[in-house]
Every structure is written in C-alpha cells, then in structure tokens.
C-alpha cells in the first residue's frame, strides 16, 4: 500500500516528465502555425474607391467616358503595383461608403468624381515622398476629369 506522500511524488514526477515530452511537440506545432495576414496597405481604401469609380462608367461606351474609365483602371493598376501587401492578399477591408454607392446619373457621377478628387488631393498631401508623385498624378487626372465632364 502506497502512502499519500509517495503518491504525491509520483504525480509530480509524471507532470514534470509529461511537460518535458509535450513542450517540444507544442513548440514544433508553432513552426507550422499559419501566419496572421499582414495588415492592409494604407492605400487599400483609396484603391477600392478607385475600382468603384471605374465601375461607375462600366455601362457607358462614349469615347470621352471610356477615356475617364480607363484612367481610373490605370490608376488602380498603378496603386496595386506599389501597395504592400498587394491588394487581395491582405486581411479583407470593408468597402467604404463611396465604394458601395452606385451613382448612375451624370450629376451623381460628377459628384463622385469631385469627392474622389478631394480624397486624392488629401492622400497626396499626407503621403510619404515615394508615393507623392503617383497620388498627385491621380489627383490631377481627376481634376481633369471634372473639366471634361462639365
């Protein structure tokens, strides 16, 4: 018959040995744990808004409108090229209000362009130097869109 003191010692030994065996196994599991997705690039919202802006013109095939639509698409491609992580590989970001709205009339399209222009100006003015040129180009292109959509 075992004394209670002996039982306690065996239980303690089992716990120590068990921990020594299990700990490396758990550490090994860490090696294969999937990495958390990197945070989205700060331009992600701006990028999604740009795609939404291009989509506004999807059903209109007039040459002038096609020029504006293609410019927005070119802007989205240029943004995607400088973003890290590239869009689509980061954690999903809910679309902004501008992206989810779908203006259809010339007036509402112009209003969307006006808002997009102001966002591009703000983005350019607060961007790091290496992103200032592209964001400035986008802001100025949008100003020109407002001019031709008059």
């Amino acid at each position: 018959m075992q004394t209670p003191r002996r039982t306690q010692r065996r239980a303690l030994l089992r716990a120590v040995v068990g921990a020594a065996v299990v700990a490396p196994a758990l550490a090994a599991c860490d090696l294969f744990k999937p990495e958390a997705p990197p945070p989205p690039d700060p331009l992600t919202g701006f990028y999604l808004d740009t795609l939404a802006l291009a989509a506004l013109y999807q059903t209109d095939s007039r040459p002038l409108v096609a020029t504006v639509r293609d410019a927005h698409k070119a802007h989205a491609a240029a943004l995607a090229a400088i973003m890290y992580p590239p869009p689509g590989s980061a954690a999903p970001v809910p679309p902004s209000a501008a992206a989810s709205a779908a203006p259809a009339t010339p007036a509402s399209v112009r209003e969307a362009e006006q808002k997009a222009w102001q966002k591009a100006v703000d983005a350019c003015l607060t961007a790091p130097a290496e992103r200032a040129t592209l964001l400035g180009e986008i802001a100025v292109a949008r100003a020109c869109h407002l001019e031709v959509l008059r």
């Binding site: 102001q118 040129t133 292109a141 407002l146």
Partner: protein
C-alpha cells in the same frame, strides 16, 4: 483646396517659407525654366487666337508669371541664384494659325505640368500643396487647350508623365 479650378494668385506661394532640399532646389530650377518658356510662348501665340482664346491665354500668362515669381523668391531665399529667362526659345513647330497656337499652348502647359509633378516628391506640407496646385492648374489648362485644338485624348491617366 475645395475645387480644381485654377488659382492664379500664386504670388503668396509658401514655397519660400521653409528651407528646400538640394533635390527640391534642382527641381524648382527646372520648373522655373519651364515657366519662363511658357511665358515666352504665350507672348507669341496670343495674337493668333480668337477672343475666347485670348482671354484664356491672358489668364494663363498671369498665372505663369505669379508662379515664376514665387519660384524666384524661393530660390532667392535659398541663396540659389535663379537662372534668368532665355532671350528666345525654339518653338517645337511653326506657329501659323489659331490651331497651331492652341496646340503650342497645350504643349507648353504639359511641359510645365511635368516639371511641377517632379517637384512633388521633393517637398512636403504646404510646399507640396503649392506644387500640386501648380501642377493641377497647368494640366487643367492643357486639357482645355487640347479640347479647343481638337487633340485627342483630351486628358491622360498620368498628366505630365513622360512616356
């Protein structure tokens, strides 16, 4: 900035309010040369335009003069002796009628826009805003001249970017 309309009152430009980097000074020197070339071109082409075109050209000339003065002031503040304007410039094509005058105006505005575009990454804060305003104004004028001249496309995705 609440509207992309041209802002000719550029004489109060903040370009001179903060020391510029060496890259910023170099870009501003190049931009000064472009502004001087634009002033020369407008001095030649205005006479060939109709009343509406003349009005547009006059407004453009005022804006370019204000921006030139702002750059000279900034370079002066930085003790970076601004280069004087050339006595003459070779025009890229013969100036014979209103259409060629409009094309020349679009051409010089594109050149000015390209130079202000290049300033953006060398400055920040209020100086970047001044550069963006100037870039935007030149690109808008270029768009208007292209439309008047019937040049297509009237606008490009990356204004001022050299292909």
């Amino acid at each position: 900035m609440t509207s992309p309309s041209p802002s000719p009152s550029a004489s109060a430009s903040p370009l001179a309010q903060k020391p510029l980097t060496a890259a910023g000074l170099e870009r501003l020197r190049a931009t000064l040369a472009a502004e001087n070339a634009a002033l020369f071109a407008y001095g030649r082409l205005g006479v060939l335009l109709d009343a509406k075109g003349k009005e547009e050209a006059r407004a453009a000339e005022v804006a370019h003069r204000a921006r030139r003065d702002a750059i000279v002031l900034a370079l002066d503040e930085a003790k970076a002796s601004p280069a004087p304007a050339e006595p003459g410039y070779v025009l890229p094509f013969p100036l014979t009628d209103a259409a060629s005058a409009q094309r020349l105006a679009a051409h010089v505005e594109e050149g000015v826009a390209a130079n202000w575009r290049a300033v953006l990454r060398t400055v920040e804060g209020a100086q970047r805003k001044a550069a963006l305003d100037a870039y935007s104004d030149a690109a808008l004028r270029s768009t208007r001249w292209r439309r008047l001249a019937g040049v297509t496309p009237v606008t490009t995705p990356f204004p001022g970017r050299v292909a």
